[in-house]
Each structure stands twice: as C-alpha cells, then as structure tokens.
Symmetry: C2
C-alpha cells in the first residue's frame, strides 16, 4: 500500500481517516490539528486528536459525533451541582483519557510521544501525530471580540460571525521530526474534508509543514484535498458561514481556491459537479464522487477513490 | 454556644467534628491538616479537608471510611485500562470536587477561599479552614527512603517503618488570617483524636498557629486533646506503630506527652483509665470516657463531654 499522510481536523478528518485505515493499515499517518486544544479543569484536552483516535479505535460514539460510545456523565453532573462550568462536556470514560494524558505531559513527555503511546494503548494500527509539539491556539475575532476556539465553537455554539482568524504561536511552532519524516516518506498527501479555515488552516500555518508539502510535490508526490463543503453547505460545523464571513466563496470552489497554491487534485461531491470546470481552471485535477460518508462502507469507498485519484496524479507528473 | 476551634486530620477529626457540629453549629471552626494534600493527574486533592467536609455535609461513605457515598468508579476503571496509576482511588463524584477546586485555584483563589466556597456549596454550617494557604508537604523517612505522605500511606499501605518525619515548607508557611482570627476568637480549642505525628503535627508546625495557641491560653482559653490511641492501638491508621518507631511510648500517655507543652486537658478512653495518674503528672487535667465513635450518637456525646470538660478547665483558670 502507498504511504499516505492525511492532514485532518475532527469529525470529517476522522471519518476519512477511518476509510483510509481500512485501505492502508499501518501505511496511514494522520497529522491532526492541535489549534483547538485546551486546558480545562487543569486537564490537557485534545478534541480533534481524540476524535480521530477514538474513531480509528472504533470507540467513538457515532450518533453523538464526538467522545466515546457507552459513555456516562457522573462527573459532569456532580460538577454542575458544585456550580462549575460544564459547557465543555466531558464523559467519565473520556475524562480518563485526559487524566492519563495530563499525567504523561506532566512527566515531561512530548505531545507527539503521548499521542503515539495512546494510539498503541488503543490498538490503532495507523500513526496519529499532533501537527506540532509547540503550543498553537486558534483564536477568532467575532462580533463578540476575540475568542478562543472552543469558547466560540462549543460555548457560544458558533453563533457570532467570524471576522478574522489567527493561530497564536504558529509563527514560532516547529513541525515535529515525526511529522516531517512522515511527509518526507509520503507517497500521497490527503487534505481531509475538514474546515479549511480552522481545522486544516492551523496545520498549514506551521512553516515546516508547508515546506514539507513543497518538498513532497517536487518529488512528484501529489497533494489531494477533499471538499468538506457540499452544495454550499458544511457537512458539519460552521465552515460555510466562516468562508462567507471571511470573504471567500461559500462553496467547494471557495475551498479549492484556498488550497490551489499547494494542491494538485481536488475531490468534489457529485452535487457540485457544475463547479468542476472552475476548479480545473485553478490548475487542479478534479474527481467528482459521493463524498458524504454515512457508514463504514462509504468511508472505505471514498478513501479508496481518493487514494486511486492521488496515485493517478503522480503517474502523470514529470 | 462557645466558639470552638478543632485542629483535625482525617477520619478521627471528621467524626469528632461531626459531633461538635451537632453541639455547636456555626460556632465550630475546623482547622484541617493540609500536609497530606497532593497533586495527582494535575488535580488538587485535599484528603483530610475533604474527609472533614464530606462528613460534615453528610455525604461521606461511612463503610468505606473515605470519599463520597453512592460513588461510582467509571473514570478509575477506564484509567486502569489506559495503564495509568490508580493506587490513589478517586471516585467519579469525588473527582468533580477536585476538578472544581483545581479550576478555582487556577483562577487564583486562595486555598482558604476555595475551602470556604466548598463548605457553602455543600451547605455546611461550620467553617473549615486549611491550616495555611502555603504549600506544606509531610514527608517520611522510612526503611524505603524518604517518601511523600500519600506514597507511604496509600501506595505502600503504611508498610515501611517510619524513622523520621518532616513537614517541608512548614518553616516558611504562614497561618492564614482566617485561622489566626478563629483561634483568637476561640473559647475552647480541641485537638482531634487524629494521628499526633502526621495529622496534628503539621498543623502545630505552622509557627503562627503555635503562637495563636499560646495567646489563647494566656486568655484562659483551654486547649484540650482527645487521644486517638486506645489501649495502645490507633483506632485507624498507623499512629501506634509510628509512635513506637519514632521512639515515643505507644499509648495514650505517649500522645499526652507530645501535647503536654501546649495543652491543658487530655481525654482518655475508659480502657486507658490506669494511665490517668501518669497523664495528670504531666500537668494535664484529664477526662476518662468512651472515646470510640461508632455512630452519630456517640460522636455527639463525646463532643458534648469534650466541650464541657474544656469549659470546666477555663472556669478554674486564673
């Protein structure tokens, strides 16, 4: 199987990663956004990482869309009785992950090491890497002022319009040796159908990752992106409104424009087939297929199609 | 009701505090040992404080002897699956207390403020104060080397013999204004039937508290101690073995000798009636009664007897 690196945010990235895992097994590396990470109640919480890890371990709650299946909420209920903030809901079993991780980080382990350990404990064949071991925090200027990501995303239910996005610390953050090595060894790089602004954006804001993408492309390794916008709507989350409020086109074409400078191929949903000429006019190869992943089968099928598409692009490169 | 301050460790201190609460209501202040406190999984854990608080709130698990009643263990079970240390067991509902407290401390609240807030949330009429807002850590030199208190007490099940005890930070720690004010307003000071070395010892190691005791006695306020050793045995914990291995007599008389320099009265169990002359020879008034608190009634009865005994001592002072 080809060695594939996926750049991923939360749910959309996790679903495609799950399909890629079925196709690739240990040849898959997922580089996850850590700009949404937060410290809450003193605990290190990595929302995007854990969504990917729980999904690849088959432990995710499919209906809820986040956290662990068979979850209980005793701690949160008691925390509410004590009058503490509970807008960021943490299940009892999920809390164990955060307690374990906080311990490991306090022991001095790098975030990358901790992620590798957790994947091993959870029995995940693929590699999951935080985009960096350095602290990067996604912050959003909204009509309510500058907000931390989870304050906007969870606490305020993505209600305020987003006027500006910044990735605090990204300019000084270094891609980990593991991320650089994975990208340097990649035979295909896939950008997940995650929010292009706040999920993929932070990953691409790490200078070393952009450099690695450029090196890969010079090696004739294709970068292929999958649109998370279908028929002008985000499959999940506020990406559509965010594109619009930040002055981008609220469509898969708007996403393609963002990715065009460093991408070779773009995967559109059939519902957006009419955008294909405009996408190709950006210099991108395109694939039109069903991109909405509703079950394991559709995840695996889309993943296989994306890999085949990316490989075909390599074949035609000089 | 007289204003009473109890100096207390965990279980024994909590039981007597519960009896005193029934007798005194809001006129009771409990100053609790914080030398056993620890940070685990990034959380601020206060074992003695919480034993007292849960007991006074009527939330304690009487059979287990620590933690909350109606507790569940989902987080710990999952933490064990992840391979983390679980020797210090934290129930799900108990964890909420630690998460809440860690939040408040991270907000910059003083430990004393946090303790006062928790007592209000739990609906406790009495005041519970940490002995200091400063960091003091009880450490034990054992045959296994120097150990942190909970490492010795919980992890190693009090197995290694204790050769030396120190209260790291106590020499620089300051009694909080609240502790000093409570002692200065007290009409009686009661030393709980807690471990004299590692529960009461850290409290008395805070210079400001010793000074306050001396001031109280000059005001003719009695200091009365209740023996936690009955018939040569600790009712709970390793106090008996610890007295012996540190060169003290392993009996109520050994405890009385430790407290004699700053105590007026000493309460012995009926089983130790023969020690009464030796206790009085130390210059202490004595009371012999049933000191083993097996239910609410015996807690209240002992508390009432201790208060009456202490008040009678005041009456005869110059």
């Amino acid at each position: 199987m080809p060695r594939v690196v996926e750049l991923a945010g939360g749910v959309g990235g996790a679903k495609l990663a799950d399909g890629l895992l079925a196709e690739l097994g240990a040849d898959l590396t997922v580089v996850v956004n850590s700009g949404d990470d937060l410290v809450l109640h003193g605990l290190a919480i990595w929302p995007d990482h854990d969504t990917v890890a729980y999904t690849l371990a088959g432990l995710d709650d499919v209906d809820r869309g986040w956290g662990l299946a068979n979850e209980s909420w005793t701690v949160m209920e008691r925390l509410a009785e004590l009058g503490d903030e509970t807008w960021f809901r943490l299940g009892d079993r999920d809390l164990a992950t955060h307690l374990w991780r906080t311990d490991r980080l306090r022991d001095g382990a790098r975030p990358t090491t901790v992620a590798l350990e957790l994947a091993r404990i959870l029995g995940i064949a693929a590699t999951i890497l935080p985009m960096t071991d350095d602290l990067v925090r996604t912050e959003l200027r909204t009509d309510d002022g500058w907000l931390e990501f989870q304050e906007y995303f969870v606490h305020r239910h993505q209600a305020p319009e987003v006027r500006e996005v910044r990735f605090a610390g990204a300019d000084r953050a270094i891609a980990s040796a593991e991320v650089v090595a994975a990208l340097d060894a990649a035979e295909l790089i896939v950008i997940a159908p995650s929010n292009p602004i706040v999920s993929v954006g932070p990953i691409l804001a790490i200078g070393g990752i952009r450099d690695s993408l450029e090196r890969a492309r010079r090696r004739a390794v294709a970068v292929v992106a999958v649109s998370g916008i279908v028929a002008g709507r985000a499959l999940k989350g506020p990406a559509d409104r965010m594109l619009a409020s930040l002055g981008h086109e609220q469509s898969a074409l708007g996403v393609a424009r963002l990715y065009a400078p460093f991408t070779d191929g773009f995967v559109l949903d059939r519902l957006d087939a009419e955008l294909r000429p405009a996408v190709e006019a950006l210099g991108l190869a395109s694939l039109t297929t069903d991109t909405v992943m509703t079950d394991d089968e559709s995840r695996a099928r889309l993943a296989a199609e994306v890999v085949a598409f990316g490989r075909s692009l390599e074949a035609v490169r000089p």
